[in-house]
Symmetry: C2
Subunit: 432 residues, 2 copies
C-alpha cells in the first residue's frame, strides 16, 4: 500500500534534529521524507494526518524468544534454576508447532503495539515463527539456537543449519542467522563445526554469551578462557555476528568482539529480573563496540517493550558508572534503532529515502510528553507503549490506535494462546 | 456521583485473590465490592460495564514535586550538580503561582492517566497545588519542604508551618504534613524547632533523607552521626512520618526508623537517573520497615508512572541481592498502594466497603497482559500506563479511555504549560 503520512514531526534518526514534514511510502520503502510536499511520488491509497505527532524509526528487538509469550507470568519471583528447570523446560518439552504459531502471533501483536518493526527471534519451529511474524510486515531474523546438550548428531545439526540458511537466502526482510544456544550447551565439535560452516558461507553468527557470572566462571575453569576468548579462538566470530547478553565482559573480551565487528544485543530488563547483572554497556560504547537492545523472552522480562529496554540501558549505566551523564538518551535510542538494524543487516533504523518503511508515530499530546522538549529524551525517559499511535512495518500499517492488522484477529490470538498454554500445562503435568 | 462498575475482575489488594464481581460507589466511598449483585445500594448515575477487565486499588505516589513537570526534559544526561545548580534552581527562582498551578495540573493529568489516585506533593505555593490536584478528586498530602539555607527567620518558618497545618486540619482527602527539605539545607534551630512543633501537634513529619552517599558522608563528618541518627536524636520522628529516598541506610538507621514507625518513600527511577544509587529496600522490608513508592519530580525521572516505580522496586532488588526471588511483585504492588495510603493516613489502598473510592480499571485485553496469569505479577512486570482504562479518584472518574475530567481541558493544560516554561526560561536568562 502506498501511504502518505502528512503533517508530522519527523526525527529521522537518533540524535538528529526533528523537523516538520511528511513521509511518503511506496512498495514498502520510504520514497520521500522531507518538508511538506506539494507532490505525491506515487498515488497514495492511504493518507494520514499525523496532527503534528512524531515519526521516529521503528525499533529493532535484537534478542527475543517470541513464542515464550505463552510462558509469561508462569514463573516470576523464582530463583533462576527453579525458573528454568522446574517451570520453563518441562513446558518447552511439550511445545508443538501450533503453540509456537500462536505464541509468536501474540508477540507480534505486542511488538507492533510497542513500535517494534524488526526482530531477531531465537526459538523452535523457525518456519512457523517466520510465518507468524511476517504477517505483520516486520523484518525477521530467525536465529538458530541449536545445542547438543541432550545429544544429537553434530553433522546432522550442521546440515540442518546449512540447508535452512540457504532456504532463507535472498528473501525480502527475512533471513536465517547461523547460531548456537550457548557455549555451555554445545559440544566442542558443534561449536567448531558451526564456526567452520560460518566461514564457508561467509555468514555472521549468533549466540547467547556471558549472560551470567556462573557461565563465565565455569568456562574459565574448563577452558582457561572466557566464553568470548574461546569463541574468538575457534573463529566463531570471523564473519561478525551478535552475542546476546554480554553481561560479564572483560576489557579484553570487548576488544576481541570489536576486532571481529560483533554486536552485543543487551537485555537489561531480563538481566535485572533474573538477577544476572548489569552489562558494562558504558565501557562497550566507549570502546566503539556496537550495542543493540533486546527484550529476551516474555518469561523473563515480562514485557516486550523496547521503551523499557531503552530507559534501562541508559539509567542503569548512570547508576553503574555513578555518573548521571553516562549513556545518553540518544545512545539508547540509537541502540534500539539503527544499531539493531545494522547488526541484523536490515535496511532500516532511519527515516530516509530508500530505507524500508519501518516507522512509529508517537503521541506528543500525552501528559508525559509535555512540555515539548528534546524528543529523543522524551522517548527514552518519559514514554512507554501508551505513546505509540501507529506502527508501520515494511510499509504495512500493523497497528493503529487500538487496531491490529497482523494477519489474525487479536481476539483469536488471545483465545488461542489461552488454549495453548492450558494444553501445555496439562501435558507437562502428565509427563511429570 | 454514584457509580456502578459491573462485570469486573476485582483484586481487592496486593496479594489478595481476584474474583469476578462489581463495585458500587456513593459519595466518594466504596459501598459495595463483591460478587455481581442484584441490588444497587444507591441509585447509580453512571453504570459501567468493565467487560471483565481488572479493578485494582489506585496508586499512591508517596513522593512527588508535581509542578516540576514544567522542567521535564530540560536537564537530562547531566551530572547532578549541573542539573540542580545550573538548570533547575535558576528556573525555580523565577517560579510564579500561575506556573505552579499549570505545572501541577499537567502532573494531575499524568497521575490519573497512570492510575495514581493519591499523592504526597512537596513544592511551592501549597494552596495552589492543592487547588489543582483536588480538581481530579485525588487525595493530596501537601508536604512542607521548608529550608533556611538561604537565611530566613526560623520562628517565622515555624509559625507559617503551624498555621498551614491548622488551616488544612479536618479537610476531606487533603492534609498538610509538617516537614523540611533536608538535614543539609536546614539550620539546627529549624530542624529542632520543627521536631518540637511536631511533638506539640502530635503530627508526623516529612523530609528528604539519605538520598546520596555525599549527603550521608558529609553529615557523618559534621555530626558524627548519619542523618537518620541525628533526626532520631532530636525527636524529628517522634510522631512518625516519612523520609523520601533512604538510598543509603545502615542497618542501625533502619532499626531507628522502624522504632519510630517511619515510612521510607523510595524513588527507584529518580535514584537511577541521577546516579544516586539503589536503596536497600530488601533489607528494609525484611526488617519490617514500611516502604512506599514515589516518582520524585518529572525533572529527574522523567515519567510520573507508578508502573515504572513498581517494576524497578522489585527488579532492582533482585539484581542488588543477586536473587531473582527477592522483593516479589506483591511487595511492589503493596508499596504502591496500601503502604503509601497508610503512610499518608488516607483511607484507601484497598477495594473494600468503607474505603475511599480510589481505583483503577486495568485492560486485560492487551497483548502484554496475555495469557492470563497472576494479575499482580502482570501489573508489576508487564504493564505500563497503556494498561489504564479508567481511574476513579475519590469516586470521581478522572480519566476514562483518553478523556480527562480534571477541572481543566487537557488542551488548555498543554497550552498553558508551554507558555509558562517559555516565560520561565526567558525570566531565568534575563536574571543570569
Amino acid at each position: 500500500m502506498n501511504i502518505r503520512l502528512k503533517n508530522a514531526v519527523i526525527m529521522p534518526k537518533a540524535g538528529a534534529e526533528a523537523f516538520r514534514g511528511e513521509v511518503q511510502i511506496a512498495d514498502g520503502k520510504i520514497v520521500y521524507a522531507g518538508k511538506q510536499n506539494d507532490r505525491m511520488y506515487f498515488a497514495a491509497e492511504r493518507e494520514k494526518d499525523c496532527r503534528g505527532n512524531l515519526l521516529v524509526p521503528g525499533f529493532c528487538n535484537a534478542h527475543a524468544h517470541s513464542a515464550m509469550t505463552l510462558f509469561r507470568g508462569i514463573a516470576d519471583d523464582l530463583p533462576l534454576r527453579e525458573w528454568l528447570f522446574d517451570r520453563i523446560f518441562p513446558l518447552e518439552d511439550c511445545l508443538t508447532e501450533e503453540d509456537v504459531y500462536w505464541g509468536t502471533m501474540l508477540a507480534a501483536a505486542e511488538y507492533v503495539r510497542g513500535g517494534t518493526t524488526a526482530v531477531a527471534d531465537m526459538y523452535f519451529f523457525h518456519d512457523t515463527a517466520a510465518k507468524a511474524l511476517r504477517k505483520s510486515g516486520m523484518a525477521v531474523a530467525l536465529c538458530c539456537g541449536t545445542n547438543d546438550i541432550g545429544g544429537g548428531d553434530v553433522k546432522e545439526h550442521l546440515k540442518t543449519m546449512e540447508s535452512r540458511y540457504h532456504a532463507y537466502e535472498g528473501k525480502e526482510r527475512l533471513k536465517y542467522i547461523l547460531g548456537l544456544h550457548a557455549e555451555y550447551t554445545c559440544s566442542d565439535a558443534l561449536l567448531e563445526g558451526t564456526a567452520d560452516l560460518a566461514a564457508t558461507l561467509g555468514a555472521p553468527t549468533y549466540i547467547h554469551c556471558s549472560e551470567t557470572l556462573k557461565e563465565v566462571g565455569e568456562c574459565s575453569v574448563r577452558r582457561g578462557m572466557t566464553p568470548v576468548e574461546y569463541l574468538h579462538k575457534i573463529g566463531f566470530f570471523d564473519c561478525g555476528g551478535i552475542i546476546a547478553h554480554g553481561t560479564y565482559l572483560e576489557k579484553t573480551d570487548i576488544e576481541l568482539l570489536k576486532e571481529k565487528n560483533v554486536t552485543v544485543a543487551s537485555n537489561p530488563s531480563s538481566n535485572l529480573k533474573l538477577a544476572s547483572g548489569v552489562a558494562p554497556v558504558y565501557t562497550m560504547l566507549k570502546n566503539g563496540l556496537r550495542v543493540a537492545l533486546g527484550t529476551d523472552g516474555a518469561a523473563s522480562n515480562n514485557a516486550l517493550s523496547m521503551f523499557r529496554e531503552m530507559y534501562l540501558m541508559s539509567c542503569l549505566q548512570k547508576e553503574r558508572m555513578k555518573d548521571a551523564a553516562a549513556v545518553s538518551a540518544e545512545s539508547a535510542l540509537s541502540a534500539a534503532t539503527e544499531a539493531g538494524y545494522a547488526a541484523l543487516g536490515f535496511n532500516g533504523g532511519e527515516i530516509r529515502e530508500g530505507k524500508d518503511a519501518d516507522l512509529v508515530l508517537i503521541d506528543l499530546d500525552a501528559p508525559g510528553m509535555r512540555p515539548r522538549a528534546d524528543f529523543g529524551k522524551s522517548l527514552v525517559y518519559s514514554a512507554d507503549t501508551s505513546a505509540v499511535l501507529m506502527t508501520v512495518a515494511g510499509g504495512h500499517i500493523a497497528y493503529e490506535e487500538g487496531q491490529y492488522e497482523i494477519g489474525e484477529k487479536i481476539e483469536e490470538i488471545y483465545r488461542n494462546t489461552e488454549r495453548c498454554i492450558k494444553r501445555l500445562r496439562e501435558a507437562a503435568e502428565k509427563r511429570a
